[in-house]
Each structure stands twice: as structure tokens, then as C-alpha cells.
């Protein structure tokens, strides 16, 4: 404890000595400047010359002709945007963020793509929906209209020629025509027989027509032989259906 008490004043004295010695050394090294000072002024002519040079004109507002047409375009766009939206920073410069430029570029690109898609007549609904949209296929293969067939005449010919298979077909088509005229089914050549059966609302009517349909299918698609007796039975079944089937 005693030694600390002695060292502290010694350290203080040394610090004082060296600081005074250093100060003396610096003041001794500085020389007095005796050079004559002459005041110079800007040459007004030169200044005006520079001012008239567009390259040294940094004022905003004026159109900088040295910029490319693209930069000039964006300058105008940003001037217009600032006028409308206030303090959005000018993009493109190193010190300011350019994300606004990209947002507007994306918007413009989006509009262009939209115009392109619309001009091609495409629909974008499928992009946002899992369900497949329905389309119109320009392809038709319809040749026969049941409303234009003279059934009695054609059936007479078929029976006379003992073509009972064809006669059963005509019976079935005639039933379809009657059902269509009665508004029980909607006739479309592309519909299947089962679709027509399902369209019938009356249960008994649907049951009878379902049986007739199956008989027609066995004969027409299955190529099952039809004799005179069988044809008479089928003709009667169709006649019974015709009597009460369309109410």
C-alpha cells in the first residue's frame, strides 16, 4: 500500500514533464509563412461558357438531350408518376431502389400478354379452375333425321322384302320420333339409347321403352335373326307402347 502511494506522484510528475517537453518541441518546428497572398476571382466569361454547355447543366426539369430515348421516356414516366403519387424515388440510379420500375414493367408486360391472349381468342378461366372448361368441337357427323323419314312407306318396303331387322329398326326410330314430338325426349343424333331411356320420367313408360330398346339392340347391333312370328310380336309390343306411351 505504501509503494502505491509513492509511485502515483512520480507518474504524475513524469506525465507533466513529457507533455511540456513535447509541446516545446512542436512549437519549435513550425515556421512562419511569409508568402504574399493574392486574391483570385472566377472568370465570369469562362463561367458563362460552362453554364451554356448542356453537359454541365444539372438542373432537373429540362430535357437532357444526351440521354437515350428509353431513358428520356422513363424520365417522363417518373416525372408523371411523382406528380400523381408524390414521393416515389426515382429508379435506375445507383443510390435509389429500382423495384418500382420492375413493378411497372411487369404490369405493362401483363397487359400486353392479356391483349395477346384475348386477340388469339383464348380463355384464361382454366388457369384458375381445376374443372375442365367445355369446348365446342367443330366436327359433325350427322346424316339421318328421324323427322324426315316416311316410316309407313319404308316399313312396308322392308316387310315386303322380309327384311325384318330393318323393319324393327324403323319401328324403334318411329318411337323415338313420337317421343320427341310429345316432348318426352330431346332428339339429338349423338345421344345414346340409354340416354333416351333415362330422359323418360314416367316409370312404367321407361320400363317398357327400356325393354323395347334392348330388343332393338339385340336385333340391330347383335344381328340376331328375326322371323315373321318374332317380328309380329315385336311390332305388337311397339304398337302397345305407341297407344299409351306418349301421354
Amino acid at each position: 500500500m505504501k509503494t502505491i502511494n509513492i509511485r502515483l506522484p512520480i507518474l504524475l510528475l513524469m506525465t507533466l514533464f513529457f507533455s511540456l517537453w513535447g509541446k516545446e518541441a512542436i512549437s519549435a518546428s513550425v515556421k512562419k509563412d511569409s508568402t504574399a497572398v493574392s486574391l483570385r476571382t472566377f472568370n465570369q466569361g469562362e463561367l458563362n461558357k460552362y453554364r451554356s454547355n448542356a453537359e454541365f447543366n444539372y438542373e432537373e426539369g429540362g430535357e437532357d438531350v444526351s440521354l437515350s430515348w428509353w431513358d428520356q421516356f422513363w424520365n417522363r414516366v417518373w416525372t408523371w408518376i411523382r406528380r400523381w403519387f408524390g414521393n416515389i424515388e426515382k429508379p435506375g440510379l445507383s443510390h435509389s431502389p429500382g423495384y418500382w420500375k420492375y413493378i411497372f414493367l411487369t404490369l405493362i408486360a401483363g397487359v400486353l400478354i392479356y391483349i395477346l391472349i384475348k386477340s388469339k381468342g383464348l380463355s384464361l378461366s382454366g388457369l384458375f379452375s381445376r374443372k375442365s372448361p367445355s369446348i365446342e368441337v367443330p366436327y359433325t357427323e350427322f346424316s339421318e333425321d328421324i323427322h324426315g323419314i316416311s316410316f309407313d312407306e319404308e316399313m312396308g318396303k322392308a316387310v315386303e322384302a322380309r327384311d325384318f331387322r330393318l323393319a324393327v329398326r324403323l319401328l324403334y326410330l318411329r318411337s323415338l320420333k313420337h317421343l320427341s314430338e310429345a316432348g318426352k325426349i330431346k332428339w339429338v343424333p349423338g345421344k345414346t339409347n340409354s340416354e333416351y331411356v333415362r330422359e323418360l320420367r314416367h316409370t312404367e313408360q321407361r320400363r317398357i321403352f327400356s325393354v323395347l330398346t334392348r330388343e332393338f339392340e339385340y336385333i340391330w347391333y347383335g344381328n340376331f335373326p328375326v322371323d315373321n312370328r318374332m317380328f309380329d310380336r315385336i311390332r305388337n309390343a311397339f304398337a302397345d307402347f305407341d297407344k299409351g306411351g306418349y301421354k
Binding site: K120, E136, Y139, Y221
Partner: protein
């Protein structure tokens, strides 16, 4: 009524009974998915390979395994992975030091019912190993041709959602699949029934609930029966018009091939047989058109962008063609 009028020219009673038995057996394990089960059976009767596509967890692999189990024939399962080599599928010659010669060691493809799980995970090189096997029912390795045993059925599964680490199947290979069956989610009632059954059974061992119901020879015999079924000339024309319609359609970039036309007729015959008929109706054809053609046609890029599916285009094509009657 019509049974009294028309006597069947082909006895399909046994075939129909077998179909019912398979339907019932699979139905005990798989709730719903009736269309998938029917098409799987139809595919086997029509002598075709089947691609089953669906999101994970809709019983694709289970259905394929159960179907394979219902047939008493050699079964192999190949899990397709990105590093799978053609030799892993077909087999490879192995040197026998005792004989001093190479012996061909057959790969898993030499079976009767082959389940290829996640087929789109293997690269084109390995996919191409299946080309000859699927179409010609033979494999040529080191100049030797090895015939596949009959029946030979490839049942493949793939997941349409996951694209990471998957490869699109080449068109040539897709064309070799008779059906592409799309398996959807079950209905609310079916979902409840699945949970209820699982809760009651308290077991995961579903596979053992299905026993072999058909022999390989029976499958071959049924196929021969199906092949002989009658198809009216106008229905062949109707099929041709549908196929032609796919080739002249503005919405399709690639139409169906003649192989597809044959596939439609064969599959329609199988559906007719399953319904106990020895002749095909337009409805049989219409029913099989989507699963037969959906993977064989390609919609144009603009239609794809609009989200129009192949099924939708096919439906429209069919509706524009007059039903022959």
C-alpha cells in the same frame, strides 16, 4: 324378356360369374372406385396393359395388387426408381464358372401379372426396356429372344401431381397401354365407409382377404371368347369416325393411332362380355373411348393452357357423331 326371345350364341355365363366374383372380392377391400375395378377387369379380358393414374392414397397399388392376387398366376412387382437399369427389369447374363458359360438370369418382368409401381420414376432408358415386352410379349437380350408366358399383363401406377424426380412417359410407351384409368377421390359416403370398415376390422392385412379366383388358363380362355364377339359393321365405322375425329380436330395436337382404334373395339367387346352380351353396342364403345384414348391424344398447347382436358375434347367429338341406329 329378351332372354326368352334371343338365345346367346356364345356361353358367357362362366365369364360373367368370374367377373362378378372378382368385383365382389375387390369390393370387399376397396370401397367405391367401381369404374376403376370394372376397367381393370375389362383390360385383362381385352388382353391389354393398364396404367392407373391417381394422387397418392386412392388405392391404385392396392387395386392392382388385389387384382393380381385374384389371378392364380406368377406375380412380380417392380418399384421403378431413377437409378433402375434395363437389366434390373429384363434380367442379365451371369457367368457360371462351373459350366464356363453365361446363363441368362430372368428379371422380374418374366411373370404373368407385373405390377410396375410409380412407372414414371424411371428414366427413358429403363422405360424403353418395356417397349418390346409390352407390345410383342417377348424380350431380346444378347441376341436371344425370350417369349413371355400367357397371360402377360402389365399393371402400372403413376402419380400425376408429383413432378420432382419423375419422367414423362414416352408417347410410344403410352400407346402400349390399353387403358389409362384415372382414379379420383372417394365420395363423402365412401370415405365414411372406408373409415368405418378400417375401424371395425382393426387390421391392415387386406391383401389376404382376396384369394385366387381365376387361373391363368381361364384368363386366356376368356380372352379368346371375348375376341370372337360380334361387332356390327356400322359400329366399326362409328369407331373409325371417332378415331378420325381425333385426327381432324383443332383442339388436338396429336390424334389417335390405328392401334388405338383396335384397342377401342377390343375393350368394347370386353365390356359387352362383362354385361353378358355377345355383341357390342354403341354405349360399350362410348364407355371405353376415354380410358383408351385419353393418354394417346395430346391437346394443343392453347387448349392445355386453357385447362381443357383430353376427356372433354373426346366427349365433344363423340357427341358430334351420330349414333348408328
Amino acid at each position: 324378356m329378351e332372354e326368352e326371345l334371343f338365345e346367346q350364341r356364345t356361353d358367357l355365363s362362366q365369364l360373367k360369374a368370374s367377373v362378378e366374383a372378382i368385383r365382389e372380392a375387390l369390393g370387399k377391400v376397396i370401397i367405391g372406385q367401381h369404374e376403376m375395378i370394372d376397367l381393370l377387369i375389362a383390360g385383362i379380358l381385352a388382353d391389354g396393359h393398364i396404367l392407373i393414374e391417381g394422387v397418392p392414397g386412392v388405392a391404385k397399388t392396392l387395386a392392382a395388387m388385389l387384382l393380381a392376387r385374384s389371378i392364380d398366376a406368377g406375380f412380380s412387382r417392380i418399384q421403378f426408381t431413377p437409378d433402375l437399369m434395363p437389366s434390373d427389369v429384363l434380367g442379365t447374363p451371369v457367368f457360371n464358372p462351373r459350366e464356363g458359360s453365361f446363363e441368362f438370369k430372368k428379371g422380374p418382368v418374366f411373370g404373368n401379372v407385373i405390377l410396375v409401381d410409380e412407372i414414371n420414376r424411371a428414366p427413358a432408358k429403363t422405360q424403353s426396356a418395356l417397349f418390346e415386352v409390352m407390345e410383342e410379349r417377348q424380350a431380346t437380350i444378347d441376341g436371344h429372344t425370350y417369349r413371355m408366358e400367357e397371360p402377360f399383363i402389365v399393371l402400372a401406377t403413376q402419380n400425376p401431381v408429383e413432378h420432382e424426380g419423375t419422367y414423362r412417359l414416352p408417347e410410344a410407351q403410352l400407346d402400349r397401354f390399353l387403358f389409362k384409368i384415372q382414379v379420383g377421390y372417394p365420395t363423402l359416403e365412401e370415405e365414411t365407409a372406408i373409415l368405418s370398415r378400417q375401424h371395425q376390422l382393426k387390421t391392415d392385412d387386406k391383401l389376404h382377404e382376396v384369394r385366387p379366383l381365376l387361373t391363368g388358363d381361364q384368363v386366356v380362355a376368356y380372352r379368346n371368347q371375348v375376341r370372337k364377339l360380334f361387332v356390327e359393321e356400322k359400329l366399326l365405322e362409328f369407331t373409325a369416325k371417332i378415331i378420325h375425329g381425333t385426327r381432324n380436330n383443332n383442339s388436338l395436337y396429336l390424334g389417335a393411332s390405328p392401334r388405338a382404334a383396335l384397342a377401342v373395339v377390343n375393350s368394347a367387346k370386353a365390356i359387352a362380355a362383362m354385361n353378358g352380351r355377345d355383341f357390342v353396342t354403341p354405349e360399350d364403345i362410348i364407355r371405353v373411348v376415354p380410358p383408351v384414348l385419353r393418354h394417346r391424344v395430346i391437346p394443343t398447347p392453347d387448349k392445355e393452357m386453357e385447362g381443357v382436358s383430353s376427356d372433354e375434347i373426346l366427349k365433344q367429338i363423340i357427341h358430334q357423331i351420330e349414333i348408328p341406329r
